[in-house]
């Protein structure tokens, strides 16, 4: 870039030049005028001298004593340092202060003499060869009875004449110099004064550029510059407002994005991640900063997502799909892809919104299974009852031995039906009461509950020759509803006994672990295969269809346990490995 000169250095020299030029012009004129004045004054003085001298020589002219005239000329000329010449009307020089008149030729043609001989005052400034200098000559006529008989000429060197105002010239030059210096200082100051508001404007503009838009310019200067400053202030205020708006909008957007439950990914045309929100980071277990700018296939390794992104980028408008992210556990995502365009309508990328529908899918499945299961569970006993009743009606009633057996079966199935319905009712009761907050929790010892369970289940255990032991400290207390908790623990112990072989042990223990009260039921039975563990707390979920019915469960026991645990503000968990037994744990808040 070309080196720019400062404004000061553009203004100041021109000021200086103008001042110097005008002073010089004026000085020139003044010098001329002074010189003219000096010449005029000298001419008048010379004329007066000439007139005086004329008086002196008038008599001598008349008496024609030229010799005396010459002497007089020489005397006076020397005393007033002026060349004095007396010329007769014929042009003959009769007296001269400098030269011998006899050796001088005629003066009649000298312009001042010529003038004087015609009875006028002759004033001429010219070069005199005899004096070898510039001289001012004044000649006056000498008249006798109306005729000019001679002329007196006074000559003075111009040098001497204008020598006089020499000191004046010096004073003038000095004065001019002083003025120039003063003017230079003043104009520098003025230029600086003009420059200062501009520097302030520049400083202000720089602060604006740095983003300090709250700064206001206060410039005390000429109207134009003040108006400029005002305009800049207005501009800054508007910019500030705009920036504020943009920032607010961005913050809002940021807040919306980060608080969205849905995962949001913004990708450019090369499938690179431009933005991802927190939900997406959590969903895919990635770090936003690390993933930023990377291709989606690298950052999130999920082929279905990549395929979806490819599809969304290729599609002209909105696309939607359901994708599955494999992992532990698998997640079902509802994916929406919307094209992103810039202001010119060119595609710059795609916005992908992923909605985690795993829970919904699971709930849907549970609901579907529940309906199927409940129908199945109710139908089985009813089919039997129906069958046996029909058999009885068709005549078996008259065969007492079979009729007795059939009725027993019918009673057994009716009991089962009633058990199922009882369990369903108690489930829905617990649910309802929990929703209404009607379940009364009382601080009571956990040991009492365990004792009660041991008492209820003891008989069943001894029938199967299973040792049922319990361990619990007396001090362990929790906010519980004894009846419900007893039911839950009893259900677990019941299951443990059911799935243990005779001779094995079932242990019931309760203690405080990490601020959690845990009630554990441990058995060493057949255990539960891994794939069932997530689902055994669902209603009617059966690990082994044939076996459970035989054991006489309703399929609702664990669901009831789960509901009771959550009614206490706790939860239930299970650890099990196939063939090695299971541990069910009720966690209660301490």
């Amino acid at each position: 870039m070309r080196q720019r000169r400062r404004l000061l250095w553009q203004l100041y020299p021109s000021y200086l030049l103008i001042i110097t030029l005008s002073l010089a012009a004026m000085g020139w004129y003044a010098r001329d005028a002074a010189r003219q004045l000096a010449l005029d004054n000298s001419a008048r003085a010379l004329q007066a001298e000439a007139i005086l001298f004329r008086q002196l020589i008038t008599d001598k002219l008349a008496s024609q004593t030229f010799h005396e005239i010459d002497t007089l000329c020489k005397q006076i000329g020397a005393s007033i340092s002026t060349r004095v010449t007396v010329v007769l009307a014929s042009g003959q020089v009769v007296g001269d202060s400098e030269f011998d008149p006899a050796r001088l030729e005629t003066f009649a043609l000298r312009p001042e003499v010529k003038e004087a001989l015609q009875a006028r005052v002759g004033v001429v400034q010219r070069y005199s060869f005899s004096m070898n200098a510039d001289l001012l000559f004044v000649a006056v006529p000498v008249e006798q009875r109306g005729t000019v008989i001679a002329a007196v000429r006074m000559g003075k060197r111009v040098e001497d004449v204008i020598q006089a105002p020499g000191s004046l010239a010096l004073a003038m030059v000095l004065g001019t110099l002083v003025i120039i210096i003063l003017a230079a200082g003043l104009s520098f100051f003025v230029a600086h004064l003009l420059n200062k508001p501009l520097a302030e404007l520049k400083g202000g503009a720089e602060r604006y550029a740095r983003g300090d838009l709250k700064y206001r310019l206060r410039v005390d200067a000429s109207e134009e510059i003040a108006a400029l400053a005002e305009a800049m202030n207005t501009m800054a205020a508007q910019l500030h407002e705009r920036v504020q708006t943009v920032t607010n909008q961005r913050n809002e957007l940021e807040a919306v994005l980060s608080d969205m439950v849905e995962a949001v990914l913004v990708l450019d045309n090369e499938e690179r991640l431009i933005r991802i929100n927190r939900a997406a980071e959590e969903l895919f277990g990635i770090q936003g900063e690390q993933a930023h700018g990377r291709p989606v296939g690298e950052a999130i390794r999920t082929s279905e997502l990549k395929r979806f992104v490819n599809k969304a980028l290729a599609a002209p408008d909105h696309v939607e799909a359901e994708i599955v992210v494999l992992g532990a556990p698998d997640r079902h995502l509802q994916a929406h892809g919307t094209p992103l365009n810039d202001s010119g309508g060119n595609r710059i990328g795609v916005l992908v919104v992923l909605n985690d529908v795993t829970r919904m899918k699971n709930l849907e499945k549970i609901r579907r299974d529940f309906v199927a299961n409940v129908s199945h569970e109710l139908r089985t006993p009813i089919t039997s009852i129906q069958g046996f009743l029909e058999t009885l009606k068709e005549g078996a009633i008259h065969d007492p031995e079979n009729a007795e057996r059939f009725l027993d079966i019918i009673i057994k199935h009716t009991n089962r039906l009633s058990m199922i319905i009882e369990d369903l009712l108690s489930l829905s009761r617990i649910e309802q009461e929990r929703e209404k907050g009607e379940i009364a929790l009382k601080e009571s010892p956990v040991k009492d509950v365990l004792l009660a369970v041991v008492r209820t289940c003891g008989r069943k255990a001894s029938e199967k020759e299973i040792t049922l032991s319990y361990a619990c400290s007396d001090e362990l207390k929790a906010k519980i509803n004894s009846t419900l908790l007893e039911q839950a623990v009893a259900n677990l112990v019941d299951n443990a006994i059911k799935f243990s072989d005779s001779g094995e042990a079932v242990i019931l223990e309760a203690d405080l672990v990490d601020g959690d009260i845990q009630i554990r039921v441990v058995d060493h039975g057949c255990g539960i295969a891994r794939e069932h563990l997530d689902r055994i707390f669902e209603r009617f979920y059966r690990v082994d269809k044939s076996r459970s019915s035989k054991e006489g469960g309703t399929g609702l026991g664990l669901a009831i346990v789960k509901h009771i645990a959550s009614a206490h503000g706790g939860r239930v968990s299970v650890q099990s490995s196939h063939g090695e037994g299971s541990t069910f744990t009720i966690h209660l808040p301490a």
């Binding site: 291709p295 296939g297 950052a299 390794r301 891994r530 196939h578 063939g579």
Partner: protein, 220 residues
């Protein structure tokens, strides 16, 4: 020309990662098929193998094309060679996943097989190794790759323990040998997968450092 080469290499990388992702998912599905006795999932793995095979061929062709067209040198040459080798390993892992899925189908037909071994720890370990090796590839992280090489020994050890357990069980309960045989074979497949994963990790080390790390064990 050089820019085109870089673009081609980037595309190759994106494709190998795509293949890796696919293989990773297939392995996960195959293991899940065994865990949950889900023969439908196993069928998906078996049918999907053709996709992996196609991708492998495409990647190999692309790699060779780049070699022939641009004649790259130094790190770019290393990069492409490593990708071509990895491509092979990934395809083999895909095949092994299919084998695992086939076994899953066979086990699935036998109801109520007990898992006698600590089978799932092994599955998780192998899956983790594959995931890490792809992470190492994506991030060009040699340190991570060294870790994988070290982990391979653990998997070998697991396989040996399983073999011992199997022989013990077989002696005790010769009646129920069949499902155990399937599981033993699966464990062998998993061990092979771990080996291929280690190869991939070694290729990553080669890509990053230029050192051939094979047969050297742990970190230098």
């Amino acid at each position: 020309m050089r820019m085109r080469l870089q673009r081609d290499i980037d595309r190759l990388k994106s494709r190998i990662i795509e293949l890796g992702t696919l293989v990773e998912e297939r392995l996960r599905m195959a293991v899940k098929a065994i865990e949950c006795r889900d023969t439908g999932l196993a069928d998906q793995v078996i049918e999907g193998d053709i996709e992996i095979d196609h991708q492998e061929v495409d990647i190999e062709e692309d790699g060779l094309k780049i070699l022939a067209l641009h004649q790259p040198v130094a790190d770019q040459l290393r990069y492409i060679i490593a990708i071509i080798k990895m491509n092979n390993d990934l395809e083999r892992i895909g095949d092994l996943a299919v084998n695992v899925a086939e076994r899953a189908k066979m086990i699935g037909e036998e109801a109520g097989v007990q898992m006698p071994f600590d089978f799932f720890t092994m599955c998780q370990k192998v899956q983790g190794m594959l995931q890490k090796s792809l992470d190492a590839l994506v991030n060009m992280n040699a340190d991570l790759a060294y870790d994988i090489c070290a982990e391979d020994d653990d998997v070998d050890m697991m396989k040996n323990i399983m073999q011992k357990q199997f022989m013990e069980k077989a002696r005790r309960d010769p009646e129920r040998l069949e499902p155990l045989v399937h599981l033993l074979i699966v464990s062998r497949h998993l061990e092979r997968i771990a080996d291929h994963t280690t190869n991939i990790a070694e290729d990553v080390i080669y890509m990053v450092t230029g050192q051939i790390h094979r047969h050297k064990g742990a970190r230098p």
